[in-house]
Structures are given as C-alpha cells and as structure tokens.
C-alpha cells in the first residue's frame, strides 16, 4: 500500500478541546471521518488543508512534510497539493461558474485561456458545461455541489478534502448527488478524505471509515466490520444495533452490573455484545421455551421506523426492539407499559472489547 497521506494531527484548543488522531490514506482510497458534531472532524480537515495550525504531530503528503511543529516546518494552504470542497461550497459569488473553476489554475500560474480551458473540461466532466456563464446564486444546491467538486479537482490534487459535501442538500437531491459524487471519488487517483456526520454518506462513499469522538479515533475499518461490530454507543446507534459491554465467561456476559446475557459462542474476557432491534421480541407475559435471554422491561417510547415500530425498552438493560404494527396492536403497546423482552442467544454477536493489533 503506497500511502499518499500520512498524518498525525494534534490540535490543542484554548477551550480545552484536544484533537489527536492519526490518518493514513493510500492512493485512490476514500476514507470517511465519521463522528458526531463537535468531535473534531472539521478541525482535522482544516489542519490538513493548512487553515488551522497543528499544535503537534506531522502531516506528510507524497513524502513531503507539509506540517511539523516540532521541526518548525509549515506549508501555507496555497502551496499544499490539496483540493477542498467546503461545507456550503463557498463558491465565489462575484465570479461565473467557469471562473470559479478556473480560479485554481489561474492562481497557480496558468494563463487566462489555459485556465478556462481546463475549467471547461472539468465542468463537462460534472455535466455542467451549459452553466459555465451563470453566477453561483443561479445554481441549484446539487449543481453548486458539483461546481465545488470540479473547482477542488481541477488541479488534480494529491489530496482531496470534502467537508460534509452533501449536508446542505435536500433528501431527494442528496440521493442523486451522492451517486454522482461516488463516481467522481472512485475515479480520483489521489487520496480522498471525507468528513461527515451521516453514516449513509460514509458507507456509500468511503472505502474505509474512521470514527472520531471527542477528538480521538474510537474505531476504524471497512463498512462491514464497523456495521457488524460497533465499539461505542455512538457507532452502535449509527448502525442501529443494541450494544453492551462486560466480562464474559463461557457463554454468559455480565452487562450493566449483573445482568446475564447468554451468547451463541463461548468467549472470555472483556467483550462487546451486539444484536439488532429486530432480534428483540416483545411479549405481554413471560415467554416459555427456546429464547435464552428474557427480562422484564418498561416501554419508554415508541417511534415509527420504516414499516415497523421501534420500541425503546427500559429495565435491567436498555434496548431497542423493532416490531410490526400488527404485533403492536395485538399487544396494545403504550409508553409506561410492563412487558417481557426476549432475545435468542443465536441472534447475538459477542467480540473482544480490546482492539487487536
């Protein structure tokens, strides 16, 4: 794996917030930095672009050190091989679409006609040739996003940085633009870092996910691993799983103090147990028979969730359960009601809590 980006980003704020993450991205790879608001994702992107100075650490792109506070090395943003798609795009309102895209080549020394030719080429790649003479305010959100992408990509930057590229779009435009963005990102030969708080954007667009919470990486890996084996409550909520942690002995995991969850495979040590809300059955009376895990629960809330209802359960452990509207009607479910919850051991997944390697 030839790494294009190799960075250890440390930014200490006066407010006490500290970002400390390591990111490496290979050529052609798309990495999503996923995390809740205030986790430090945008700070990381700004540090890579040279807009926020590092307190410590180092940024290397293609072997060149761009930022290394310890060695007093710093490259200003205009000299970095990075293209940035900003949140809200920040297209220059006084320039035409064509001149917005031509701005980069012009600044980097190309003549006017050469820069415009390059820009026209990129506009046709994003399918906006006929909008070249328009002003940014005459574009729809989706079109503005594509212009911003063209503007960032026009110099073939080694590093492409995208800050919440789809957050400003409505749901319908988002779907089309996401697909189109996916195509462009997979064609980009350089390294791509995508900052988002939307798990769907991350799952669709990225080859690898880096989850950031409170300025630190809490989990990283490909989409399949992260969706199956979340390591924090935040990730579990993102991928829609119930997640618990506790010591395991043989097939029993003690979570939340002393609640015993029986799992499918024997496991020992500090472990996570995850199961989907659809695996949780809700009964009005204590069920007999096969499910090994049953507990009394109180309904804390009921919400629509796709075609089903998602029921929040309080009790010895909190859990979410998905049930059909028919079943809910039969059980006459209502907040505050006492019920029994059940999960089969075979529907749970237990995995070690201490990350390997």
């Amino acid at each position: 794996m030839t790494g294009v980006l190799d960075a250890h980003l440390v930014v200490q704020r006066d407010t006490g917030f500290r970002l400390d993450i390591e990111v490496s991205i290979a050529a052609g790879e798309v990495v999503a930095l996923l995390g809740p608001n205030g986790a430090g994702k945008t700070t990381a992107l700004r540090a890579l672009a040279g807009l926020t100075p590092l307190t410590d650490g180092r940024i290397r792109v293609g072997g060149d050190v761009l930022d290394d506070p310890a060695a007093r090395a710093w490259t200003p943003p205009e000299d970095r091989p990075a293209g940035v798609v900003f949140q809200d795009y920040m297209l220059f309102p006084h320039l035409s679409v064509l001149d917005n895209v031509a701005f980069g080549p012009r600044s980097r020394g190309a003549g006017r006609s050469e820069a415009r030719a390059l820009a026209a080429d990129w506009l046709s790649r994003v399918g906006l040739s006929e909008y070249a003479r328009r002003k940014p305010r005459q574009l729809s959100g989706g079109q503005a996003q594509r212009v911003a992408l063209a503007r960032a990509l026009v110099g073939d930057p080694a590093l492409l940085l995208l800050d919440e590229p789809l957050a400003a779009l409505d749901a319908r435009t988002r779907l089309d633009t996401r697909a189109e963005l996916h195509r462009h990102l997979s064609e980009h030969p350089g390294a791509t870092l995508l900052v988002t708080h939307d798990p769907l954007d991350a799952l669709v667009l990225a080859d690898r996910l880096v989850i950031v919470e409170d300025g630190a990486v809490v989990q990283q890996g490909d989409a399949a691993t992260i969706t199956a084996r979340p390591r924090t409550d935040y990730v579990a909520r993102l991928v829609g799983l119930n997640l618990y942690r506790g010591p395991a002995a043989d097939r029993v995991v003690r979570v939340n103090g002393d609640f015993a969850l029986t799992v499918a495979e024997p496991i020992d040590g500090d472990v996570f147990v995850a199961f989907p809300p659809a695996a949780v059955a809700v009964h009005s009376h204590r069920p007999d028979g096969s499910p090994r895990n049953t507990w009394p629960a109180t309904i804390a809330g009921i919400q629509r969730h796709g075609d089903n209802l998602r029921v929040q359960l309080d009790g010895p452990i909190t859990a979410a359960a998905d049930i059909t509207p028919t079943a809910a009607a039969q059980l006459r479910l209502a907040p505050g009601q006492q019920v029994w919850a059940a999960v089969k051991a075979t529907e749970t997944l237990a995995y070690p809590a201490t990350p390997r390697g």
């Binding site: 200003p76 205009e78 900003f86 920040m90 701005f103 960032a152």
Partner: protein
C-alpha cells in the same frame, strides 16, 4: 392580513411618532429654506460668475483627489484592522477614529505642526524635495483626506468584518496567496461597502471647512473651496452665499441619488 397591517400602523406610539416627525422637519426645513430664499431670477448670471465656477471646480477636484488618497491608504488599513491580529489593534482602531471626533480646526492646527514649513515632516519635505504643503491646493487635499479617511476606513472595515472569511480560505486552498486573494476575492466581495465608504468620504471631503482654512488658508483659485467661499460670501453678499450653498446642496444630493440605486443599499 389587511386588518393586522392596519393594527400595526395604528399602534405607532405617540411618544415615538411625535419626536420622529419633529426630527424629520428639523432635518428638512433648513434645506427648504435654502431653496425658498434662493435668488432664482438672477441665478443664471450668478452661476457664471468666475469666482463661483473656480471654487466649484477646485472643490470637486480636491474632494476627488482626497478620496483617491483615502482609498489608496484607507482600504489597506481597513483590511489590516479587520483581518490581522496584532498587539495594540484596539488602540490603532481607536486612533483611526480620532479625526472623526476631533474638531476639524484642531486637525488643521495639528497638520500645520507636522506638515508646516517648520513641522516634523514638513521641514524634511521642504529641504529634501522643496515641497511645501501649507496654503497650496495639495494642502487642501491633505486636510480633506485627514478629516474624511476615518469614514472610509470604518465603512470598509465593517464590510470586511461582515464577509465570510471562508471565501478567503477557499481562495487559499486554490493556490491564491494573500495579495491575489485580496485582489480577486476580498475586494470584489466588499465592493458595496467600499462604494458606500467612498461616497461618505467624498461627501465629507467636499464639505470640509475647518481643517482646510487652518492648514491651507483661503486663497481664491488655489485653496478657496466652496465651503470657504460660502463663509466668505456670507460676510459681504448673502445672495451669493445662498447660491453657493444651493450648488453644494444640489451636487451632494445629486451624487448621492446617482449612486444610491447602484451600490448603496
């Protein structure tokens, strides 16, 4: 919807409506008086009097040159105050606004002390280049610029603070250095603010009296601008003073109205 609108209109409280109306009358009445008392019948011949045209030409010339000087120095100063964090920035900002509150006559005295023939800078200018500013047309420009520049700096700095600095960051990530970014992004974005500041600055320069008469004197054709001519005429010929005032009023209102639709919100 109509009833609601009628209600809000009816609800303007008297303690606000009354002083507001009085204020408007107070501002407009003197101008009306000027128009009413103008010697309309003899106006054409009075306008063509050589002294009037000379003073008007000098006023327009010096106010425009002073405005250009203010733009060249004031816009970069506003940028510095709005974009660069440096120790003592608050103090510098306060100093910039001093000419705004300083009585113009005091400004004229201060200018004499610095640019006068024996002044700190003036003696050096005189000995090195043989340039002497006081009591010259150039001195008028300097006096007007001194008084008018704060208007421009404050307007442009406000416009700069109001623009999203992320545009400038976007320009930087696209390879533009600070100067290119200023030229191609910042300046076009604050153009309306610069235009508004320019108009304010020009109007202030056109009306400048105290600093001009103190620093540049009152020589017809050389340093006697319209406000000075008005003041002088008032001593001898009231009708002439009214005519000169009327011209100043028309020029000011005309410029303001002409620019209003285009640049000033």
């Amino acid at each position: 919807m109509t009833p609601t609108r009628r209600q809000t209109r009816a609800r303007v409280p008297l303690p606000l409506l009354l002083p507001a109306g009085l204020g408007l009358v107070f501002l407009v009445l003197p101008l009306v008086g000027l128009v009413v008392r103008a010697p309309w019948t003899t106006l054409p011949e009075r306008l063509t009097e050589p002294g009037v045209l000379t003073a008007l030409r000098l006023s327009l010339l010096t106010a425009t040159l002073a405005t250009v000087l203010c733009l060249l120095l004031g816009v970069p100063l506003a940028w510095l105050l709005a974009r660069i964090t440096f120790p003592g920035r608050r103090l510098v900002r306060a100093l910039v606004t001093v000419p705004l509150v300083l009585p113009p006559v005091v400004g004229g005295v201060a200018l004499l002390l610095v640019f006068g023939r024996r002044g700190l800078v003036g003696s050096w200018l005189d000995s090195t280049f043989g340039i002497s500013l006081p009591f010259t047309t150039a001195g008028v420009v300097v006096a007007e610029a001194f008084v008018a520049m704060p208007f421009l700096v404050i307007a442009v700095e406000g416009a700069l603070r109001g623009t999203d600095t992320r545009y400038e960051e976007a320009a930087a990530t696209l390879g533009a250095g600070r100067w290119t970014t200023f030229r191609r992004v910042t300046l076009p974005l604050v153009a309306p603010g610069v235009a508004a500041g320019t108009v304010l600055c020009w109007a202030r320069a056109l009306g400048e009296f105290g600093a001009t008469i103190t620093f540049a004197g009152n020589f017809p054709g050389r340093t006697q601008t319209m406000p000075l001519a008005v003041y002088l005429a008032l001593e001898t010929d009231l009708q002439a003073a009214i005519v000169l005032s009327l011209i100043l009023l028309i020029v000011s209102v005309g410029i303001l109205a002409g620019l209003r639709g285009r640049w000033i919100a």
